[in-house]
């Protein structure tokens, strides 16, 4: 398994501003993922972040809105830009370990007012 931390754990932001979420893992991993979970919903994949290459975004998510950095094998950031109330969600990072298993961080609860 892996120990994954996220910062901040929660935040309340005003519309039009941006928030950067950090994800730190205790071991080196090639693939990291970012998800969004809206209230009462299941997880939706935003993008896949591999170290050394640009993130790959899922349909409906664009780099200008959700820029991602992956500077090394233990760290990634997701920025939620120009926020609106519809961006209020829990944002989760995960890491891919052996045999396809993904382990998740504790999440960042974002409220946009």
């Amino acid at each position: 398994s892996a120990v994954i931390s996220q910062k901040p754990s929660r935040d309340i932001c005003q519309r039009g501003t941006s928030l950067t979420i950090q994800c730190q893992v205790d071991s080196q991993v090639t693939m990291m993922f970012w998800y969004r979970q809206q209230p009462g919903q299941s997880l939706t994949l935003i993008a896949t972040a591999n170290q050394g290459s640009e993130a790959t975004y899922e349909s409906g998510f664009v780099i200008d809105k959700f820029p991602i950095s992956r500077p090394n094998l233990t760290f990634s950031t997701l920025t939620v830009s120009n926020m609106s109330p519809e961006d209020s969600s829990i944002y989760l990072c995960s890491v891919l370990l052996g045999r396809g298993e993904q382990y998740f961080g504790p999440g960042t609860r974002l409220t946009v007012t």
Partner: protein, 110 residues
């Protein structure tokens, strides 16, 4: 198209009342089926991975089984602390992406 369906959507059990949660899947080339537990406001906690039909995994009061079409999460003599949302997800050999079901919200009452 790869798809995961979980049922029931919600389940209320009395403490000690055993039951099962279902996860039906359609995927081209199943690589793995995963069960997670998620408490409100927290990230999913990994429970089990199943890779081939007939495989079973156990952990405390939970037992996961897998067939070619579906997986069951059996809960034996549940306790209130087992209350959570249980998520099922699959990956195929085409991708490392997880395809999630919508989850089963379990409530266990004393």
């Amino acid at each position: 198209e790869d798809q995961v369906t979980q049922s029931p959507e919600a389940l209320r059990l009395q403490e000690g009342e055993s039951s099962s949660l279902n996860c039906s899947y359609t995927v081209s080339g199943l690589r793995g089926l995963f069960w997670y537990r998620q408490d409100p406001g927290k990230g999913p906690e990994f429970l089990f991975t199943l890779y081939s039909a007939g495989e079973e995994k156990e952990k405390e009061r939970l037992k996961a089984t897998l067939t070619k079409k579906e997986s069951f999460l059996h809960i034996t003599a549940p306790k209130p602390e087992d209350s959570a949302t249980y998520l099922c997800a699959v990956t195929s050999y085409n991708t490392d992406k997880l395809i999630f079901g919508t989850g089963t919200r379990l409530q266990v009452f004393p």
